[in-house]
Symmetry: C2
Subunit: 89 residues, 2 copies
């Protein structure tokens, strides 16, 4: 289900216009993204939690050339579903 289909579903189920549902979703994802940019962890009740984790730098060795490469540290966003959500799957 893509974004448009999901907004249509939400607007129907929550009894609001597709325009309002779309605006809310856009605002929501923008705010979530700003939080993640600041490195904040976010818990959504009954759903799960999002956390920005730092992956440390590491050295890779190419097995055929034996060449070493330094993979720089990076930030990744992880999502952990809540126990309630896990149970429902």
């Amino acid at each position: 289900m893509n974004n448009k289909e999901f907004i249509a579903l939400i607007s129907e189920k929550l009894n609001m216009s597709a325009k309002d549902a779309g605006a809310f979703m856009a605002g929501l994802t923008t705010e979530m993204t700003s939080q993640f940019e600041e490195g904040a962890t976010l818990s959504v009740s009954g759903f799960g939690s999002f956390e920005v984790k730092k992956k440390l730098e590491r050295v890779l060795v190419n097995p055929s050339t034996k060449q070493r490469m330094l993979v720089p540290p990076k930030l990744v966003l992880s999502f952990k579903p809540s126990p309630l959500l896990k149970e429902k799957l």
Copy 2:
């Protein structure tokens, strides 16, 4: 940031009451959960995609007792951030 703090932030940024923001978030997570219960994949524009994946059953061996255990198959929810979101971290 917990659910309550996030709803307060959303209501402020999107200029709506905390009650409305909370109701929307609750409705949204309920709908997302129903989708995942049906095994649907969900893409949220500019944010990322959620997918229910099946982990196959597998055999574990306890290294000290050599006892074999069958771990049953299970469904897990995975989240993959969009390239846009990854870039912002």
